[in-house]
Amino acid sequence: MGEPVKSSDAAADNQAIVSQEIRDIEEGYKAARAAGQPAETQPRVDYPPYRSSILRHPTKSLHHTDPETIELFSPAFGHHDVHALESNLTIQHNGEPQGERMILRGKVLDGNGRPVAGQLVEIWQANAAGRYIHKRDQHPAPIDPNFTGVGRCITGPDGSYEFLTIKPGAYPWKNHLNAWRPAHIHFSLFGTEFTQRIVTQMYFPGDQLFPLDPIYQSIVDQDARDRLVARYNHDFTSPEWALGYEWDIVLTGSKRTWTENEAYGEQGDHE
């Protein structure tokens, strides 16, 4: 259309303008699907409704290559790296953090359904009021002196992870006027191969901000978006203590020929 490139972070447009762009892209995707194009399972790196992405995405397509030896292995982490208490985000200070206590549990699997055992999971999040500890966060919601919002754990032999934390709040950002992020928890994950490395965000079921959020919507396929949404699981809820949520993460398929030992997680925890 020959429009000038929008400057990132300008907060120049309102929600109606951004929502229209989101809908136009979604309609385009639906038409492509109807015409037989394959489903898209990852976010688009070129997604103008997220203004900061405009100058930060590659314009050339990713170059397909077969992984070399080093890329077929992953860095190893173990209990030497991460203390067991780091998975409890509610005990990092002297008192109880404010907010809704929650248990978050799930499994890290590879694309073949095998558990990713003995591997590092890192999370970070806003507090219950929607405020990050980060000094860049200027949202005038209260900082909770009893909540930092950073956790780590090492997956069990069955690929399982578990965190005890506080449900994060939604927060405003400057993508456009009146932009709010749905509540989310950032996840950083490693697989058994470097090619499986991902960073993503987990959301909560039924969030009314989903249709308005250009980061969530950068995944144009609804089935793919749904893979980022945790499920409330009453069996994980702890009576008179904390609500339970469940979220499994699937990494890409592995390219390496596996040994039985690796499949059961002996690798990754040599001290």
Binding site: T41, Q42, P43, R44, V45, Y50, S52, S53, L55, R56, H57, P58, T59, K60, H63, T65, D66, E68, T69, I70, E71, F73, S74, P75, A76, F77, G78, H80, D81, D110, G111, N112, R114, E122, W124, A126, Y132, H134, K135, R136, T148, H186, S188, F194, R197, I198, V199, T200, Q201, I215, S218, I219, R225, I249, V250, G253, K255, Q267, D269, H270
Partner: protein
């Protein structure tokens, strides 16, 4: 062994607030700076207008200097002597990053040594993979499957430059004329 095929979970941007979560002490120091055989890998991350990006974070993963794949844990609590092969560092306010490491060796005879790299940034929807090759073994570089599949101008974006002080210089460009080659390991065919 399982032959299930599950659809992978989508990635999302690392966002602006990773700074208190992902970086860790000595994250970029795979070996202590100035230790024998240490080498500095350094450069700047740029956006599509050539402006440095102040809120990106890089990870490298590499073989040791003999070409062995490390299997040691301990990256997050550097003990000063265990080589884990993995490092992570955020860029500074001027987009610059620095790793202190060793030259990776060839994992097999005749292979071109490189650092595997993952980059994350605010505004970048999904992590990107790339490689940084050492410039010395020209024969191995000629025979490298990835490099030989690229036009010379594109190939250059994956080559580190060896500076007079022995350090390796490599810039990453997310977009633009000299956009770095980013890799897809999973496309069919």
């Amino acid at each position: 062994m399982s032959d299930q095929h599950l659809v992978p979970t989508p990635g999302q941007t690392v966002g602006p607030f990773f700074g208190y979560a992902l970086p860790f002490e000595k994250g970029g120091e795979l070996v202590p700076p100035g230790s024998p055989n240490s080498v500095t890998l350094h450069g700047t991350v740029y956006d599509g207008k050539g402006a440095p990006i102040p809120d990106a974070i890089l990870e490298i993963w590499q073989a040791d200097s003999n070409g062995n794949v490390p299997h040691q844990t301990g990256s997050l609590v550097r003990d000063g002597y265990t080589f884990t092969g993995w490092g992570r560092t955020p860029v500074g306010n001027t987009g610059k990053y620095v790793f202190s490491t060793v030259n990776p060796g060839a994992t097999e005879p005749g292979k071109a040594p490189f650092f595997a790299v993952a980059v994350f940034a605010r505004g970048l929807m999904n992590r990107l993979f790339t490689r940084v090759y050492l410039p010395e073994d020209t024969e191995a570089l000629e025979n490298d499957a990835l490099l030989s599949s690229l036009e010379p101008a594109r190939r250059k974006t994956l080559m580190a430059e060896r500076l007079a002080d022995g350090s390796l210089h490599w810039d990453l460009r997310l977009q633009g004329e000299d956009e770095t080659v980013f890799l897809d390991f999973h496309a069919e065919g």
